[in-house]
């Protein structure tokens, strides 16, 4: 467990899931890869397939349409994996609370599949890239 967890902390590959976001959080996530923030220096890499991922960066409220896909993507991700709810919408539906298209905050949708999922929240509308980096580091230090 020791070496496995240490290696996981040093190399987190993330997959970006848009569960009905307004694209603002997504732009900030892409911002993390730019030369200014360059998260590759922490071993964090954006990958194209949930099968390669160690963390899911979920943005958006989790609409009724997206909830089905989100659950499927979570099932396809090899465990151990961490779910990051990026932004106010993903954390607690934000300004869309009670909307007819909302299937619930992202953590509720994920917990329907796996009650013991590791879920972290980065609030903000959109959260700053610094906040996301700090959120990732806080989760990794508590694992």
């Amino acid at each position: 467990m020791g070496l496995k967890m240490k290696a996981l902390k040093k190399s987190v590959w993330v997959f970006h899931v848009n569960a009905g976001a307004c694209n603002n959080c997504d732009i900030e996530i892409v911002n993390l890869l730019t030369p200014k923030f360059d998260i590759e220096r922490f071993g964090i890499k954006l990958v194209g397939s949930p099968r390669h991922a160690d963390a899911l960066l979920v943005t958006g409220v989790g609409t009724r349409q997206a909830a089905i896909r989100l659950r499927e993507i979570y099932r396809q991700t090899p465990k151990p994996c961490i779910v990051f709810c990026i932004g106010a919408c993903a954390g607690g539906t934000g300004i869309f609370e009670g909307g007819y298209h909302v299937a619930g905050p992202v953590d509720k949708i994920i917990r329907e599949v796996d009650p013991n999922a590791i879920i972290a929240y980065v609030p903000g509308c959109p959260p700053k890239p610094e906040a996301m980096i700090s959120g990732v580091l806080k989760v990794l230090s508590t694992l």
């Binding site: 070496l3 290696a7 030369p35 194209g48 397939s49 099968r51 160690d54 396809q76």
Partner: protein, 360 residues
Amino acid sequence: MSVSLNVIFWIVVIPATVILGLVASWIVRKVSALVQWRVGPPFFQPFYDVAKLTGKEILIPEQAQRAVFVGAPLIGLAGVLLLSMMLWRIAVTQSAFLGDIIVAIYLMVLPSLALILGSSASASPHATVGAGREMKLVMGYELSLVLAFIVVIVKTAGLVGPGEQLSLAAIAQHAPAFSISGMLAFLVALLCIQAKLGFVPFDMAEAETELGSGVLIEYSGALLAVWKLMQAVMLVVLPLFLVMVFLGGLSAEFWAGLAKPVGGVPVGIIALLIFAVAGLLARFSKYIDIMALLALIGICVLAGLGKYVLILVLIILIKNTNPRVRIDQAMKFFWVYCGLLLALAVVLALIGNTLGCNWL
């Protein structure tokens, strides 16, 4: 070399090749980061990646053909490791066997073949598209690669003694790249290697943005780690093969250069020390990290791997300065442009052989 030392060398050479490959993949990522004005990953990043992947869950899709899906990465890794053994044996002992050029060409197709097999078995539409593109790409560059070898064979055939066999070891004694036809063949072979490695102008099989890592999309955990190891070893083997065929090969005592002092100064040991100290201090400053990279390249050059580093750097620069081409553009490029260029090179080499001028 005594017998026991010989045995130890052949036991150590496989893990050493894998480690060298992971270091090379770090160099690729680090230099790419520097080109893009980023800091880039730390030195042990590829090692962490592989260690992490080995510890993760392995998911196999329900509709996948299990045996092929699991077996394909192992076939690919076994193929490139076998090729690396062959090349190191030629580099170290200068001995070869009959028909080793043909065997090398076949072993070099094996990784692409394994990729096609594995992705077709994974029952994913993205992987199927990736497999189709990989197949077309193989058909595209394989013709050019074989034509480039024909140029080399024509050029070296006249130079081999009457009783000698034409083999990789014999070809590695000459450097055909220092002639017009040889240089043309070398340039085309470099692009073919780029396509074999799946690097950027020719990475349409893995196309991160449209296919979501295409051929590898369904692989996870230890199986993905095996693919990553295979790609790392390819990063050693394919440039090394180019060095042998085109640039005159590594010298027989290539590792001895590290211990040899230059003008009374033990340069190799100093470079190793700089690398170790800079590697330990790398977390404190970006520039110390770059120093470690430079010291590592210095070590490689001193150890007689200078030609290998040259090809690696060329590959990285091509990777970072080009956009991805479409599959039809790639096939047209390899068949029409490279094919015509190589036909010209073959004719030039034949004329040079009959007239006895080596520079043609």
